[in-house]
């Protein structure tokens, strides 16, 4: 199991009130799986994604990422785990606007030093080619379309060769056609053996996954195995 969660609870303090964002969530994700976490806003799906992405620690419960228990990790160890194990893809792309697509893809490599310096550029170019942007390597983000920007973001997520890709509403800012292409790209990456976790409120987006985890009010309402769309 690449992700194993047992009775995860996350409580936020908002002013005087405690808000239970996650209330005893247990789940596991196998390596190489394509999973969608679905739910309406406020269901706790973003909180769950932050926990799986090691951006946050649970209030109680156990969370293992690739066999490592994260709830007792220090910030430094978490940062390292994020850098090596997880590639994030965001709804708003979050590219650094001042540097080229290439430099954006290279950025995570300078935090996690697994790729030798001399090989970074070549690897970044290969990743951009892999997401279909071989001809846009030196473009600045504002010279790219939304779909292209998200492809740069995906290439960036792949920079340190992570086992898990975590995507938070990756098609939320894209039109349907572009969105479909991005989702197909995720499927292709999944085929190569990478674990993909997509967080979304959109049933159509979720239908690209093999398994859909439905969250409501911080609890798992149901888990469905589906025949993923578009895979022949």
């Amino acid at each position: 199991m690449i992700v194993q969660a047992e009775k995860l609870v996350k409580i936020y303090r908002m002013g005087q009130v405690d808000v239970k964002a996650l209330d005893g969530v247990s789940l596991s994700i196998r390596e190489g799986e394509f999973v969608a976490i679905m739910g309406p806003s406020g269901s706790g799906k973003s909180t769950l994604m932050n926990l799986i992405g090691c951006l946050d620690k649970p209030t109680s419960g156990r969370l293992m990422i690739d066999g490592a228990e994260i709830s007792r990790m220090r910030d430094r160890q978490l940062a390292r785990l994020r850098g090596e194990m997880i590639g994030f893809v965001f709804q708003t792309f979050n590219l650094i606007p001042r540097v080229s697509a290439l430099a954006n893809v290279m950025l995570p490599m300078s935090f996690v030093r697994t790729t030798p310096k001399s090989a970074r550029k070549r690897r970044a170019v290969e990743l951009l080619e892999q997401v279909g942007l071989g001809h846009r390597v030196h473009h600045m983000p504002n010279e790219l379309s939304g779909g292209e920007r998200q492809r740069v973001a995906i290439a960036r997520a792949l920079a340190n060769d992570p086992k898990i890709i975590l995507a938070d509403e990756p098609t939320g800012n894209l039109d349907t056609k572009t969105g479909r292409a991005i989702l197909e790209l995720f499927q292709a990456l999944n085929k190569q053996g990478r674990t993909i976790v997509i967080v979304t409120h959109d049933a159509h987006v979720a239908s690209y996954a093999e398994r859909i985890i439905q969250l409501v009010d911080g609890q798992i309402e149901g888990i469905r195995e589906v025949a993923p769309r578009g895979v022949a």
């Binding site: 932050n50 951006l55 430094r76 940062a79 650094i96 950025l107 300078s110 935090f111």
Partner: protein, 440 residues
């Protein structure tokens, strides 16, 4: 994150906000430039002063003895007797010893007109450099200072060609009387009048032949003329005897290596009641034995005090710069919150983020410091030219490149960057990535 990447990110950020980052750089530049300009100028002035002193007026092996507290390098209190000088000449390591004193009388006159400057008595040819002629050898002769020589020259030329020459043309021709051979030729052989009191306090008026002109110097007043000891008018009674007394003794050591030993001997002699000077002075006042080193040290000390004062002003200027840079860095951190969140999500540690922003702040201040050094040198050169124009110096004060101060400026720049960047960088390091990635 490695330095090249950090620098590249910082550089792209600095470039994308050129104006405000330029202003931040400028706030550091101004402080550094002010210090470098002042230091460069004062060092230049110090060096020029010292080199003129040592070249024209002080020999490295020279020692002066005066009563402490005199304003003049050559003393004001008349306590040194010829017997003292004789004793000094006997000391081992002493090559020559001479006396110094002002003449007890009126300023020189030329054709009834009073000449500027004072008249001094000395036997020492060694310390008075000349532009023309020779030093006085006995009574009836005078070496003119530059200022009185100019006045004599102007009178001479005006008399020679009363109609054709205009006043300012005459002035121009007499600008460097000792250095213009044609003028010097005319001056040597002219006579000036000296009215003085002799040892019996009788008034004498005597005509003196001009035999030389004192060397010009930018920093030492050119007013003093020199005559021989025959014109000494002051006496004191020492052990029942009336003897002439002088304001100072000038000693040259035979070997520059021995200068401290000779100075020590002089100090001992003049502190003991063997010396006439001590007998006249009693225990109250101190007799100073100055070597060139001490004079140079004294001058350097004065400049160092000045520099320390400038340093205090610089601290204030840099504080202002620091606030400017800190302000910009705080804005930068705020603006790049999402970027920080992303970096953290992709594996950057708190320390990594801290370093990134600290690098940027240091980078800004370092650019500021480097520009400040360049601007400071430029300013110093500008002021130099202004000084030359304003005070009519024949040649500019040479620029001194104060390398150690440049190093200090660079280090200061880095320090200012660290101090002003620390709080903003700490803010950046503490950014919560979850909130940052949601930040609009």
């Amino acid at each position: 994150m490695e330095l090249p990447e950090a620098l590249r990110l910082s550089w792209t950020n600095i470039q994308s906000h050129k104006l405000r980052n330029s202003l931040a750089v400028l706030s550091v530049t101004i402080g550094i430039a002010a210090v470098i300009a002042v230091v460069t100028m004062s060092m230049g002035f110090q060096d020029a002063l010292l080199s003129t002193l040592t070249k024209d007026f002080l020999r490295a092996n020279m020692i002066t003895v005066t009563v402490k507290g005199s304003q003049s390098l050559f003393g004001t209190e008349r306590v040194f007797s010829e017997r003292d000088v004789e004793r000094v000449r006997q000391m081992p390591g002493v090559k020559a010893a001479d006396v110094f004193a002002p003449v007890n009388g009126n300023p020189l006159k030329y054709e009834g007109r009073v000449l500027p400057g004072n008249v001094r008595i000395t036997t020492s040819q060694e310390i008075i450099p000349l532009d023309a002629g020779r030093f006085v050898r006995g009574p009836g002769e005078v070496v003119l200072g530059v200022d009185p020589a100019k006045t004599v020259c102007e009178r001479l030329l005006a008399r020679e060609q009363p109609e054709t020459q205009k006043k300012h043309e005459i002035k121009a021709r007499c600008e460097h009387p000792g250095r213009t051979p044609e003028i010097a030729q005319k001056l040597l052989g002219q006579s000036v009048e000296l009215k003085y009191l002799d040892r019996e306090k009788r008034v004498h008026t005597e005509s003196l032949l001009i035999v030389g002109v004192v060397k010009e110097s930018e920093f030492i007043s050119g007013g003093n003329s020199y005559v021989s000891v025959d014109y000494q008018g002051f006496t004191e009674t020492i052990e029942g005897q009336e003897v002439p007394v002088y304001t100072g003794v000038i000693v040259s050591a035979s070997d520059i290596q021995q200068i401290e030993t000779v100075a020590q001997q002089l100090k001992e002699y003049f502190d003991s009641y063997e010396s006439d000077a001590r007998k006249l002075l009693g225990d109250e006042k101190e007799i100073e034995v100055n070597t060139l080193k001490e004079i140079v040290d004294e001058i350097k000390k004065n400049f160092a005090q000045f520099t320390a004062w400038i340093g205090a002003v610089a601290v204030v200027a840099l504080l202002v710069g620091m606030i400017g840079v800190m302000n910009i860095m705080l804005i930068t951190v705020k603006e790049r919150t999402r970027e920080i969140g992303l970096m953290k999500a992709t594996g950057a540690t708190q320390g990594g983020v801290l370093k990134l922003f600290l690098t940027e702040s240091i980078f800004i201040c370092l650019i500021g410091a480097l520009l400040g050094i360049a601007a400071g040198i430029g300013l110093a050169e500008l002021f130099n030219r202004l000084t030359v124009a304003l005070f009519d110096l024949s040649e500019p004060i040479p620029l001194v490149f104060v390398l150690d101060w440049y190093a200090i400026a660079v280090v200061t720049g880095i320090l200012v960057g660290m101090i002003s960047g620390l709080y903003p960088a700490w803010q950046a390091a503490r950014v919560n990535p979850i909130e940052a990635l949601r930040y609009e």
